[in-house]
């Protein structure tokens, strides 16, 4: 298994006022799988991602990566954030090459690779623009290029398209699938959009409301590229929406 979560418990705060975000979560993700995690807000889906990234410590339990326990953040696991998290003082090009600077690669190699990724994500003409000069969709493209240039083995995506309009969201989703099909990295993608999850995922897990556990584990076997207007897509959409609805209604 590429990623294995073993009995992950995460509590924030202590005693009466403490909140249990994750309560003994087990999960195994094989190499190359595109896994979407879907659930109501506050179900701990982002927490799972942060623990896998090593940015957050589990209260108990552990995450194994290729069988080795995760102890902190590392270059093998790259993360994409909902807030884009671009460096505002760096141009698009300078943002994308950041990871190569961390690795101490020579300038000529950085330039070459950065240009390749700028072209891949249709950003070449904005290479020297600062983030605030660009639209949200463009900014997230830069963040995607900045992530993928490091060639991480695992991609952790925390609702990366949630702040974008529907149109941009669809286009970026399609591009993400295209890039993923070329590279076949293992992806953990957190979202609260049923459509997005069905469009992207090989496998979809629906989480319960807090404390988060896995409620349903589905594999999505629709052929790619997927058509959100097809009958099968609609059938899945109804099924998954129903699962989520019952989870929210039980507690509402």
């Amino acid at each position: 298994m590429k990623i294995e979560a073993r009995a992950i418990v995460k509590r924030f705060g202590e005693g009466e006022t403490g909140v249990t975000a994750l309560d003994g979560l087990d999960l195994a993700v094989p190499e190359g799988q595109f896994l979407c995690v879907l659930g109501p807000s506050g179900c701990g889906k982002s927490t799972l991602l942060f623990i896998t990234a090593g940015l957050e410590k589990a209260t108990s339990g552990q995450i194994l990566l290729d069988g080795r326990p995760v102890v902190g953040p590392g270059r093998d696991r790259g993360m994409l954030f909902q807030q884009f998290a671009l460096f505002p003082w760096r141009t698009a090009r300078q943002n994308i090459e950041f990871g190569l600077e961390v690795q101490g690669r020579p300038k000529s190699e950085r330039n070459e690779q950065t240009s390749r990724w700028l072209a891949m994500l249709h950003l070449s003409e904005f290479a020297n623009a600062y983030p605030h000069q660009l639209s949200g969709g463009m900014q997230q493209r830069i963040a995607i290029a900045r992530l993928l240039i490091n060639e991480p083995e695992v991609l952790l995506m925390d609702e990366p398209f949630a702040a974008l309009d529907a149109q941009t969201r669809t286009v970026l989703g399609e591009e993400l699938v295209r890039v993923w099909q070329e590279t076949r990295r293992t992806v953990l993608f957190v979202t609260h959009s049923v459509d997005e999850a069905i469009f992207l995922a090989d496998r979809l897990i629906v989480m319960t409301r807090r404390p988060g556990r896995i409620k349903t584990d589905l594999s999505i076997e629709l052929a790619r590229p997927r058509d959100p207007g097809s009958d099968e897509f609609n059938r899945l959409r109804r099924e998954v929406t129903h699962l989520i609805r019952s989870e929210v209604d039980d507690f509402a």
Partner: protein
């Protein structure tokens, strides 16, 4: 269309001068009609003549450069000490705990309250003046810098961590540039304070500079020179702030259009 926009352009240029010009007109008329003592309260025309005299004799430039050298020395000392201290306080909780009581205890003491002790310890001359500039400016730079470091968005640090960056790399390439706008905010506030404090110091603790020009003129009862000195202080202070704003806009070019100045 073209004519309208040209008029608008001219109007926008002239508008900032309107109030000073109207004020001087009112002042001139009031003094002439009032028939008071023009030695104590001279009209602006007389102030202008005094100003021309001060420029001709070179006195004004001697005093301006004396003041500016003190500002530069005290301010440079302040930046060199305050920026590293502020960075350390923002980055490390231990340093913050160690220094914050001292900083927040000394900060409310106004520069004028430091004058007696600085004259006792350093005598009359350059050193108390430079010290007053330093003591007045150091706090705003320390506090703004540490505040800037503490408020670096967490996401930016996370991005660097998940790319395997070391803490030293993150400090140099993420935290420092992200905190830079706050550092500059502190430095800009400090320029204003530096100039104010040097004038205060020169009123009492040293015998040259724009502040001394005013004190001396008061003692020989030359109202026109007092006011000419005030005008010079206003102009030089304005110019200093413009220089700092220019430097800021160059260094923080990436911010253009992002932050409302």
């Amino acid at each position: 269309m073209a004519a309208t926009s040209r008029w608008k352009h001219v109007t926008l240029r002239v508008l900032p001068l309107l109030i000073p010009l109207l004020f001087m007109l009112f002042w001139e008329v009031a003094v002439r009609l009032g028939g008071g003592n023009t030695i104590l309260m001279p009209p602006p025309s007389q102030v202008l003549l005094a100003l021309v005299d001060l420029i001709r004799s070179g006195t004004l430039f001697d005093d301006i450069s004396a003041s500016l050298i003190r500002v530069a020395a005290g301010y440079a000392l302040s930046v060199v000490i305050a920026v590293p201290v502020g960075l350390a306080m923002g980055y490390s909780t231990l340093t913050e705990r160690l220094l914050s009581s001292t900083v927040n205890g000394l900060r409310p003491i106004p520069a004028s309250a430091w004058i007696p002790i600085s004259i006792i310890l350093m005598g009359i001359g350059e050193r108390p003046a430079v010290f007053l500039v330093f003591i007045g400016t150091v706090w705003s730079i320390v506090l703004n810098t540490s505040h800037g470091v503490r408020n670096v968005p967490k996401h930016l640090i996370w991005v660097a961590q998940t790319m395997g960056a070391s803490n030293a790399f993150i400090f140099r390439k993420v935290i420092f540039p992200a905190a830079l706008p706050a550092v500059f905010t502190g430095m800009r506030i400090a320029v204003g304070i530096a100039f104010t404090n040097v004038i205060v110091a020169e009123l009492i603790a040293v015998r040259s500079g724009l502040g001394y020009l005013i004190t001396e003129a008061r003692m020989i009862v030359r109202g026109d020179i007092v006011i000419a000195g005030m005008v010079a202080i206003g102009v030089v202070g304005y110019a200093l702030d413009a220089v700092v704003r220019y430097v800021m806009s160059r260094v923080l070019r990436w911010q253009r259009g992002l932050v409302v100045e």
